[in-house]
């Protein structure tokens, strides 16, 4: 498909939001959305890693296709992601210890975040061009960030309420996610209606 860039962007950001509509990166979405400060750091880290690894995977895929070694895709993509995470961690540690203290714990978690691996897989299977891939990576990771940050703030507000003890915990978070996901259904069909 020759999708327009704006359509790719809106689609990955809102209509098919990675978290709320496609169910990617759920563990961190549920596990790390308790606090706003954690959530936005996770969001930023994920955005960074997704964009970098999307670019690297795009290049790698060209090589794999050239040598007809598509069967190595999964393994190379995960290695790229793990390496990106590792290098980012080392880089931040060297350049800004303060930032490392703030972000350090989140970085290793990104390797096992499905959303990160999904971006290169999707861009390959949809035959996106380089620019399309980058736009897709920005939008998809932005959608992840929007979702986790919104949920974290909603959860912080719910912290101040008198939630019955039985409902506290993951179940409540899931109900909030369900309502958010129902609200995101309003974006369905955006850009190709009427």
């Amino acid at each position: 498909m020759n999708e327009s860039l704006s359509h790719i962007f809106v689609d990955a950001l809102l209509i098919n939001n990675f978290v709320l509509c496609v169910f990617l990166g759920m563990c961190s979405f549920i596990g790390l959305s308790g606090k706003f400060s954690t959530a936005w750091r996770m969001g930023v880290s994920v955005m960074f890693v997704i964009i970098v690894s999307s670019i690297l995977s795009y290049g790698t895929n060209l090589v794999l296709v050239r040598f007809h070694a598509e069967y190595l895709r999964i393994i190379t993509y995960i290695v790229i992601i793990a390496a990106t995470v590792q290098l980012t961690e080392m880089f931040i540690k060297k350049t800004s210890p303060a930032l490392f203290r703030a972000m350090g714990v989140y970085l290793p978690l990104i390797t096992t975040n499905c959303a990160v691996l999904a971006v290169p897989l999707f861009q390959t299977s949809r035959n996106y061009s380089f620019v399309q891939s980058v736009v897709f990576a920005i939008a998809a990771s932005g959608g992840y960030t929007i979702a986790i940050v919104t949920l974290s703030l909603v959860r912080e507000r719910v912290e101040l309420s008198d939630v019955p003890s039985l409902a506290k915990g993951t179940a409540l978070t899931l109900v909030l996610a369900a309502i958010l996901s129902m609200a995101f259904m309003g974006f369905a069909g955006m850009g190709n209606g009427g």
Binding site: F36, S37, L153, P164, I179, M182, A183, M185, M190
Partner: protein
């Protein structure tokens, strides 16, 4: 003289208004709309309103009892939820589904968070979003206003048997002898068939739509009552309607042949009911002065985007729910600068 002295802390004066007063007045303001809805859509609308309200109240009583709390029905807020839920469903909506909606509104929509004041999302809209996703066909079964037998006969879908598909509406609509009714609301006609509607019927509610969303003028007046008595924040409807008007005018003037008249946008669908009674739910809206303006404008803008660019004909509900979700964020970034604060801001 040996007075019994009571030790209380300041302030010893209190403004006369209480939560109960506010909520009771909102119920009063909704009653004319309910009555008009029954006149427009008949016995089915009445049955619908009774069912949603009863389901909401029953759920609240049940949950209060289960959790050993004092019943909170006396604060009237659950009655608002019930009436509004009835008003935003199509008049012939199957009653069993409406009852499910009432349960959803109050159980997960409100009591799960701790009851009045603690819910993040508008309970009535949570229920409607649930129903729309669960029963998308039934919730699009609209019937015409002022159908002939409306007061003596129920719309057949009203008494659909639980869990069983409702019978199609076409036969009944033919019987009502309303000319050329296609089973679509003005917004659907505009969006899917590019049929424009007159503004006057929209103003007085003689059109298809959810049972209580159609009489824009009456809704405006009832809202104005609440605004004048200061039971409701005027800034939210003001911001929402202005931003909807401005953004749809921008579309309209970019291509008048393709996009509807901006005033059509204000008067059609649930815009007026949403602006006056649902976006204004204080519980789910921000508290900061700037935040309230942002919140209202955001709802107007998203509504217009969904209506004109999205896959659905109507977007008020989703717009309000999305803005509800954003309201903690809006609140946090618009904390007023406190008197004497030196540039240091709330994180």
């Amino acid at each position: 003289m040996k007075p019994v002295i009571e030790l209380r802390t300041s302030p010893h004066l209190h403004a006369p208004r209480s939560v109960e007063t506010i909520m009771r007045n909102v119920v009063y303001a909704l009653l004319p709309i309910c009555a008009y809805a029954v006149w427009l859509f008949g016995a089915s609308a009445l049955a619908l309103l009774v069912t949603t309200t009863a389901a909401c109240v029953a759920t609240e009583i049940f949950i209060c009892k289960m959790s050993g709390r004092e019943s909170s029905v006396g604060d009237f807020s659950v009655i608002i939820t019930g009436l509004l839920l009835g008003l935003i469903l199509p008049p012939g909506f199957p009653l069993w589904m409406a009852a499910v909606g009432g349960f959803i509104a109050v159980a997960p929509g409100k009591m799960l968070f701790g009851g009045l004041g603690f819910n993040v999302f508008n309970p009535a809209l949570v229920a409607r979003a649930f129903l729309q996703a669960a029963f998308p066909v039934a919730i699009m079964g609209y019937t015409p206003a002022l159908a002939v037998h409306r007061l003596s006969e129920f719309i057949p879908t009203t008494f659909a048997i639980p869990l069983i598909k409702a019978a199609p509406l076409a036969g009944w609509i033919e019987k009502t002898r309303v000319d050329a009714f296609s089973g679509a609301t003005p917004l659907m006609l505009e969006k899917f068939d590019h049929v424009h509607s007159e503004l006057w019927p929209l103003l007085i509610g003689q059109r298809a739509g959810s049972s209580g969303e159609t009489p824009a003028l009456l809704i405006f007046l009832c809202g104005a009552y609440l605004i004048l008595r200061r039971f409701m924040d005027w800034r939210i409807p003001a911001a929402m309607l202005t931003s909807a008007l401005v953004s749809s005018a921008a579309f309209y003037f970019s291509d008048p042949s393709r996009y509807p008249n901006p005033f059509f946008m204000l008067l059609s669908g649930g815009m007026m009911l949403g602006a006056m009674f649902m976006a204004t739910d204080p519980v789910a809206s921000p508290v900061t002065p700037l935040g309230i303006w942002i919140y209202g404008s955001l709802i107007g803008l998203i509504t217009v985007l969904i209506r004109l660019k999205g896959g659905l004909a109507e977007g008020v509900m989703y717009a309000i729910l999305l803005a509800n979700a954003m309201s903690p964020l809006i609140d946090n970034v618009t904390q007023p600068r406190s008197y004497g604060a030196r540039g240091k801001e709330v994180a």
